[in-house]
């Protein structure tokens, strides 16, 4: 592969420097002062976990940062990752009433980080009292945010909780997926540690379905929670996909989170296929690793692009090139990638979701010279594993659950996170996990 020059350690550190630095106490208090302390605030409703945002901000202002952290953790066990990685423009900050006043919204994510890090740095133990052990145990598959949140909540409710994780390191995509300029492995592991301290056991290097069968798990526990997320990036299903220099976005980002940056080979010219948030992560990460030219290829137009505005702006400021209305049809090269053959597209009739369908422009084939292709068309859904579980229902690449209790078709089995929603955000997984814990508790205590 025609690979980009390696950078110095200092250059890598600079490139991956965090986007939003922490507040000092002084700046946190100044920002907290701007909050109006709304009642029944829109920001609370916009947060999928419904954190009582005005209250936690008010507590920063009064000099009660521990209490502030407690308010946050009452609603969300993944408060640190969410503070740093949530798409806040689309959620809490987008809903802040100050937007309507024509002012900048409160920097809620940053303030949340302030309180949460204050608490984590303080060395203070558990913020909540645990109910005493009720004799029941729950097995959780997957230690991503959904599994962790479910485990933490169940542990407080008095259950023995065991999480089974196929990876060597727990945390799911919080550890391996979030771009390093938002969170580092260290952040995710701090959160894992907090949850372990509540009494949750995590067995790593255990793949359910391989190391232990699902039936065996059902025997061991009174109920099961599935938080397996999604899998590797989807294939493109075009010729040339096996050439050297083609990688899935999820795999590449995991490498970036795991390995020394200088050990990762990146092409000089990189094409990223797809325009979701993960595509942008892959593109900006590639650029930060030293790629000279990074192009995002998307078959619809700017208007239909699934990436949110924050990510789009970030990509543009990183100098990422966007080729809209372009569809790849073949990756060319001898042993490794040399180029990408594409078709120009135009928007036709609306599909069933009301989005205009891209249709190829006749005779519009062209080639882009690239050294690397990163695929980011969403993640694979692990149907093979799930289909092993009796009575479970799957539809549209989503595991079906009751919206209130998170119970699947199998009464002893509950689920949440990316595997039930098709792939959303950490904050959704955190909410699902917590709610499912209460669904499990209601099921096991026979309370309606």
């Amino acid at each position: 592969m025609n690979r980009a020059n390696k950078l110095t350690d200092e250059q890598y550190e600079n490139n991956f420097e965090e986007l939003t630095p922490p507040f000092t106490r002084n700046s946190a208090v100044s920002e907290a002062f701007r909050c109006l302390y709304c009642f029944d605030a829109p920001c609370i409703r916009a947060c999928p976990t419904h954190i009582d945002i005005p209250t936690f901000i008010k507590k920063i202002l009064t000099g009660n940062p521990l209490g502030s952290a407690k308010t946050i953790y009452e609603s969300n066990w993944l408060a640190l990752t969410c503070a740093k990685a949530c798409p806040v423009d689309d959620l809490c900050e987008g809903a802040c009433v100050l937007n309507e006043k024509g002012e900048k919204p409160i920097q809620i994510g940053r303030l949340q980080r302030y309180s949460v890090e204050y608490y984590l740095d303080s060395g203070k133990g558990n913020l909540f009292n645990k109910k005493s052990f009720n004799g029941k145990s729950v097995g959780i598959i997957g230690s991503g945010p959904a599994g962790l949140a479910c485990g933490a909540e169940l542990s407080l409710l008095g259950y023995k909780v065991e999480i089974y994780e196929s990876d060597k390191v727990p945390g799911g995509l919080n550890t391996w997926g979030i771009a390093p300029y938002k969170t580092r492995q260290y952040d995710s592991l701090r959160e894992v540690e907090l949850i372990k301290n509540l009494g949750v056991t995590i067995h790593t290097c255990v793949t359910i379905g391989q190391t232990i069968s699902f039936d065996e798990l059902l025997n061991r526990h009174d109920a099961i929670f599935i938080g397996i997320g999604l899998g590797e990036s989807e294939n493109l299903d075009i010729p040339g996909e096996n050439l050297k220099g083609v990688s899935g976005a999820v795999k590449l980002i995991k490498e970036i989170k795991k390995e020394k940056w200088s050990s990762i080979d990146i092409g000089r010219r990189v094409a990223v296929i797809g325009a979701g948030n993960t595509s942008i992560d892959a593109a900006t990460n590639a650029k930060r690793l030293g790629a000279e030219e990074v192009t995002i290829i998307y078959r619809r137009s700017e208007n239909e692009m699934p990436a949110n505005n924050f990510e789009y702006e970030l990509a543009k400021s990183d100098g990422i090139i966007f080729k809209f209305l372009t569809s790849p049809i073949e990756i060319i090269g001898n042993s490794s990638v040399e180029g990408l053959r594409c078709l120009k597209m135009e928007l036709g009739e609306k599909d069933e979701h009301g989005r205009r369908k891209p249709v190829p422009v006749p005779n519009s084939e062209f080639e882009i010279p690239v050294d690397m292709v990163i695929t980011a068309l969403g993640q694979k859904f692990n149907a093979e594993f799930l289909e092993l579980i009796p009575d479970i229902k799957i539809s549209n690449r989503k595991l079906l659950v009751d919206t209130d209790t998170y119970q699947t078709g199998n009464p002893k089995v509950f689920a949440g996170g990316d595997c039930i929603n098709g792939g959303k955000e950490v904050v959704n997984a955190a909410y699902d996990g917590k709610q499912a814990a209460h669904g499990i508790d209601r099921f096991l205590t026979n309370t309606p």
């Binding site: 106490r25 209250t55 507590k59």
Partner: protein, 439 residues
């Protein structure tokens, strides 16, 4: 474990936070909702004889962008029928036996009137009575409220009528609109009150609308002084609480009121001798939900300081209060600027240069203005540290070697012993001996 429970003159509550007698404690609905949220007690909105309120009762002091730094009101006592109030008080107490339900009273200055309402209040099952000698407007024109609180003899007389017949604790709420708060406090002590609540609101005029020239708040073109409360009055209230707490002739439990919005404010009132604290304006601004942070913040602070009960902190700061004559004249501090933290706003420079002792240098260094303290000129007034917008950028550092101390009282009595009159020359001789130079 932290125990926040408290006893104020025989009135017990699970935490020291009470609603002050004011709009938030107007009805059973409100008081029960507050208890639900976690408040330890309430002082029911003052009940008494027939009154009618007017529209535009409140005015707000807004500083820069901050709303309700202070609130002014011309509201009277409860304008709801007394029967309704008494019924609701009984109902509230029945539902919330573990909380303090105190009833604020104000009637005409007649013995029968006072003794009658006291008896009817006791019949509700309330835990205590608070006598409102504070309302500074309207009621005082009718010879009640501050008209009583401003005359120690009246305070004593009415309190005696009440304590004579009351089987439950009696607190007296004082008006701050007096020259020396200790006099009414001593008067009610002599009349056997069980405790003192202070302060009520301070006489004030909120301001004038410069478009219409109307005084605010305006009642159809007329205005009057109103009672001022809220964060702005806290320092005045703290002082009065400390004066009453430190007065050996009073020696009564105190319920502290005036400008409390956060747990920090509450802690300060308790450190200056309050057994419970009462809050009005902060609830008027944000609602009962502030109790969560009040309780949690106070608890966390006590835990971090190793305190476990309210009694341990009550009055803990009082012994520092002293006369100026006992301050050490040789205690010497100077300002130090942390150049790493400085953001180059130069406010320290201009305040010192124009309004203090010209002890800060301003020099261009690398395109920035660098401010440095000329320590030999610095008088240690701390103005620069107070105007600095950055935390811990300017600190006041003690520079004397702590080997000597001399108070004004000691100095003047030495002068006397040595037969020296107090003259500028003799003072200069003392200053010179200790290297003190006044320019």
């Amino acid at each position: 474990m932290i125990d926040l429970s408290t006893d104020c003159g025989g009135i017990k509550s699970p935490n020291p936070f009470w609603l002050a007698s004011a709009p938030p404690s107007n009805s059973a609905y409100q008081n029960c909702k507050a208890f639900e949220a976690g408040w330890g007690g309430t002082v029911w909105k003052t009940i008494g004889g027939p009154v009618m309120n007017v529209c535009n009762r409140y005015g707000s002091l807004e500083l820069n962008r901050e709303k309700l730094v202070g609130i002014n009101n011309v509201e009277l006592i409860s304008d709801r029928n007394i029967e309704t109030n008494l019924k609701e008080i009984a109902e509230t107490k029945r539902l919330w036996s573990d909380r303090a339900v105190v009833v604020s009273l104000m009637v005409e200055s007649k013995k029968e009137a006072w003794q009658d309402i006291v008896k009817r209040t006791i019949d509700t099952g309330a835990d205590g009575i608070e006598l409102n000698y504070g309302c500074p407007h309207g009621m005082s024109e009718r010879g009640m409220g501050a008209a009583v609180g401003q005359v120690p003899e009246y305070c004593k007389m009415i309190t005696e009528w009440v304590t004579e017949v009351s089987s439950i604790p009696v607190l007296v709420k004082l008006t701050p609109n007096v020259t020396d708060i200790r006099f009414p406090a001593r008067a009610v002590k002599q009349a056997n009150a069980d405790g003192i609540a202070l302060i009520n609101t301070i006489n004030s005029i909120m301001g004038i609308d410069l478009d219409t020239l109307k005084i605010l708040p305006s009642v159809a073109g007329k205005s009057s002084h109103g009672g001022f409360a809220g964060p702005a009055v806290k320092p005045i209230a703290l002082h009065m609480v400390s004066q009453v707490a430190n007065d050996p002739e009073v020696n009564l439990p105190i319920s502290g009121v005036g400008g409390i919005s956060t747990w920090r404010d509450a802690a300060e009132f308790i450190l200056l001798g309050s057994s419970s604290v009462q809050i009005c304006t902060a609830v008027m601004h944000y609602g009962f939900r502030i109790i969560d942070d009040l309780i949690e913040g106070l608890t966390n602070w006590m835990e971090s300081k190793g305190f476990s009960t309210i009694d341990e902190i009550k009055g803990k700061a009082l012994n520092q209060i002293s006369d100026f004559g006992n301050f050490d004249l040789l205690h010497k501090t100077v300002a130090r600027i942390d150049q790493g933290k400085c953001i180059h706003c130069n406010l320290c420079y201009i305040s010192c240069e124009d309004a203090a002792h010209q002890a800060i240098d301003l020099k261009k260094v690398n395109g920035y203005n660098e401010t440095t303290v000329k320590e030999e000129e610095c008088v240690g007034c701390s103005l620069c540290a107070l105007v600095c917008p950055v935390d811990e950028c300017i600190t006041m550092v003690r520079v004397d070697d702590e080997s000597a101390s001399k108070t004004w009282n000691e100095l003047t009595s030495e002068f006397k012993d040595q037969g020296k009159p107090l003259t500028w020359e003799n003072l200069a001789e003392f200053q010179k001996k200790y290297g003190i130079e006044i320019h």
